[in-house]
Amino acid sequence: MDPLEQLTREVGRTIGDGPGPERRQRQRRAALRLTRAPQRHGFWSRWAAPLAVAAALVLVWVVREAPRPATLTAQVGARPFAAGAWLAADEQPVALEFSDRSRVVLAPAAAIRLIRVDAAGVELGLERGRLDLEVVADEARAWRVAAGPFTIAVTGTRFSAEWRPDSQTLAVAVAEGRVQVHGGTLPAEGSRLSAQQRLEVRAVPETEEVASVAEPEPARVEPVREPVRSRPAREVPAWRRLSDAGEHAAALAAIEREGLAGQLGRLGADDLDRLAHSARLAGAAGPAREALTALRRRFPGDARAHKAAFLLGRVALDLANDPGDAAAWFTTYLEQRADAPLAEEARGRLLQIWRDLGDADRVRAAARDYLAHHPEGSRAGQARAMLATP
């Protein structure tokens, strides 16, 4: 498929068909106001306009006087934590605390992204693992937790949510209050949970799972080294069809059901490359790293094995939030071939990493290296500015 076509299809799938049901309800209410029943002339026709002006003035005064909800802030320990940032717990739980005394605790190995935090509410993206949330009730604030295709809408409550990307499963257990879960295989109106209720739901319907695993696979003793596209269409595994169609999370779930570890030892270079791509797009750092590492280990002479070093850097930087590891991979990529196709991008990323980490010596070395190789590059101005800074 043409790369541009692939890109636009993926954009179409990601962006979806429009806003969620709540916004559509608001739109509908607005549309209803556009047409009104015919009105009788008389008292109201004479006085409607002056009364409306008076009401508007009163409303403006009330709104000005009404207390506005304070902007929420978040912090981890004593460090401020801004929207857009990632947080992952290693072996110990990590607490994210909000200025309204709401609290989110990440269980070991869990990872989240704080998508939004402001006066109107909080939106968290649960990438993997379990969260325990204590949300202080406030009608003016909406809390949402997004996990895979699911969204949990929260009012004041105490509950836990666990997202398992491997099996595309969401588990929600409510201790106090109520939550509403939408998306995935749930009905359009969602599923409401009250105190002491628990929900476990999968993103992929059971029937689809059966269809995926029922796909016949020829028995193989040797690793598959033949290009996959040369096989008859009926033998194309389900995960690969899903991957080609841009359904990356579903593709990953399908291959994980077949046993990811075993597949990593059997797939050809083409498929490992495709699997890594799907895992990256699904936001799954672990499988992406494993596929790319397998590609480098099993096909060291393949051009894609070299490119895998660059992609490992991207995975470390964008998905695992590990700039040190990312820098090591970008350096490996450049060491293997200084004039590699993505060399400018790798040097640019090194520049950005050392700057973000505040390592002045490495920033200057990276800037000099960048300018030596790409004096007209897109970050050349930035590199010169870095060298000019004392």
Binding site: P3, L4, G16, T35, P38, S230, D270, E344
Partner: protein, 213 residues
């Protein structure tokens, strides 16, 4: 290989929309106060999808949908044939979107406003990489001329059949094909300046080159 422009797509099944459309027209002609609701229920999915996909889920989305329905209710009395209603709704939606793109471009000349941010707060969870892909793609589309951006969005992001794109844009098939080719070429040129998109398109090309014939 470039995106191929074809004339017929069998994947969208035609449906008989005349009874529902005729009911909306009858309500409008009778001055029924429920016309707005009926019109919204019948066409909100179509209007939302077009505006959302062409403009990229931005913060002004709901205001634009409202503008489209104001324009639809204003002009509904001029529609005589129920068969024409679906197409007319698409044309009005596209005209509203086109005016908005041009209005923003002119405003940006004076105010240097940044393009509006993506608003996916209510969308299903989208991984960071995919959000980034959306942001960068729509940043490039933001630089396309209004007509090219609309044609590109309808055809390649919404995957609308070519004939419907031409009808919605109010031009011939030949014109829309030329416009799409020009939009593709311009998109590729502008995407080449964005490292992530350039890498994405380059990796795709390399993957195709590496793959079997």
């Amino acid at each position: 290989m470039r995106l191929r422009v074809v004339t017929a797509e069998p994947d969208r099944e035609p449906r008989d929309t005349r009874p529902a459309a005729a009911a909306v027209l009858e309500m409008a002609q009778a001055g029924d106060p429920r016309t707005g609701a009926a019109l919204f229920d019948r066409y909100e999915a179509q209007v939302n999808r077009i505006v959302w996909r062409v403009l990229g889920a931005d913060e002004a989305h709901d205001d634009l949908v409202q503008q489209v329905f104001i324009a639809l209710l204003k002009g509904l009395g001029r529609v005589r044939e129920a068969e024409a209603l679906d197409g007319w709704v698409a044309v009005v939606t596209i005209n509203t979107v086109r005016s908005e793109i041009r209005r923003r471009r002119i405003r940006r000349l004076w105010t240097r406003d940044e393009p509006l941010a993506l608003d996916l707060a209510e969308a299903p969870a989208v991984p960071h990489e995919a959000r980034e892909l959306l942001r960068r793609t729509y940043a490039v589309l933001d630089k396309l001329p209004a007509d090219e951006r609309i044609a590109f969005g309808l055809r390649f992001i919404d995957e609308m059949p070519l004939a419907e794109v031409a009808a919605a844009c109010g031009c011939s098939l030949a014109t829309i094909k030329r416009r799409l080719q020009s939009a593709q070429a311009r998109f590729r040129r502008l995407a080449a300046k964005d490292p992530a998109l350039a890498e994405r398109l380059r990796l795709g090309e390399e993957g195709r080159d590496d793959g079997p014939a």
